[in-house]
Amino acid sequence: MSVLDPAFILGHYNYWVSIILIMIGLYTLIAKKNLIKKFIGLNIIETAIFLFYISLGDIDGGVGPILPKEGAVADTMIYANPLPSAMMLTAIVVTLCVTALALSFAVLIYRRYGTLDAGRLMEEL
């Protein structure tokens, strides 16, 4: 499969978007000096990763993995893979927790030093 093949590019477009988002987020995380901004970056990354996982779980023409209440699994229906969704639910919580922790750090650090600039703060260490 050639890299320039439009089918190849289109067939993966969700992945490309999530990669771009991950890169933007990572740049925010590394390059931005503001302690809160860094974690806005982390949230961008994590959300993009969720997008990546959810994309890999989806199947063309499928529906969400909620089966009909009655009767056997309908053969005619295609369901999306439930496992990535389940994993991502856990990951969302983890991200929320890490963000909460990081913001607490930021609030407390601001209270101590009156700045959120990483460049200045790391000199204090």
Binding site: G64, I66, K69, L89, V93, L96, A100, L103, S104, V107, R111
Partner: protein
């Protein structure tokens, strides 16, 4: 206290019961549709935060409120963690419920236990996240 404050607070107070109801719905019907313990926990948290906004005078950082939430968070986690040991006691693996000596078909036992687990998650998450919120906000203004 401005007029808009009163409006916001009244709306917030009015929304609390609906949010709680919605949370309960999400929690108990998680096995039927989208949603589950965690989402319910988040909605409960929102309700509690709104309640906090609605009654600005409340001293959430005071010891009683804090420790109650703490008990909530802990009991949810313990409920989940200890329920898992039922699996071992009933002769299976940790978190395995199929061997529980209940007079239902396996399917029903699972459904019951899944609900219990979801409740545990919901309680733990709402308790702890609320606590986090109140800890961050509960001071400094």
């Amino acid at each position: 206290m401005t007029r808009s404050d009163i409006i916001v607070r009244t709306i917030a107070r009015l929304m609390v019961p609906f949010l709680l109801l919605f949370g309960a719905y999400i929690l108990l019907h998680g096995h039927l549709g989208a949603g589950g313990g965690f989402q319910a926990g988040i909605i409960f948290t929102s309700a509690l935060i709104l309640a906090a906004i609605g009654r600005s005078r409340i001293e959430f950082r005071s010891q009683p409120a804090g420790s109650k939430l703490w008990i909530l968070g802990v009991s949810g986690a313990v409920l989940f963690g200890v329920t898992g040991f039922l699996g071992i006691v009933s002769g299976g693996f940790y978190l395995q419920y199929s061997l529980l000596p209940l007079p239902f078909p396996v399917e029903t036992i699972h459904a019951i236990m899944i609900t219990i687990v979801e409740i545990g998650i919901g309680i733990a998450v709402s308790g702890m996240i609320c606590l986090v919120f109140l800890t961050i906000t509960g001071r400094g203004e």
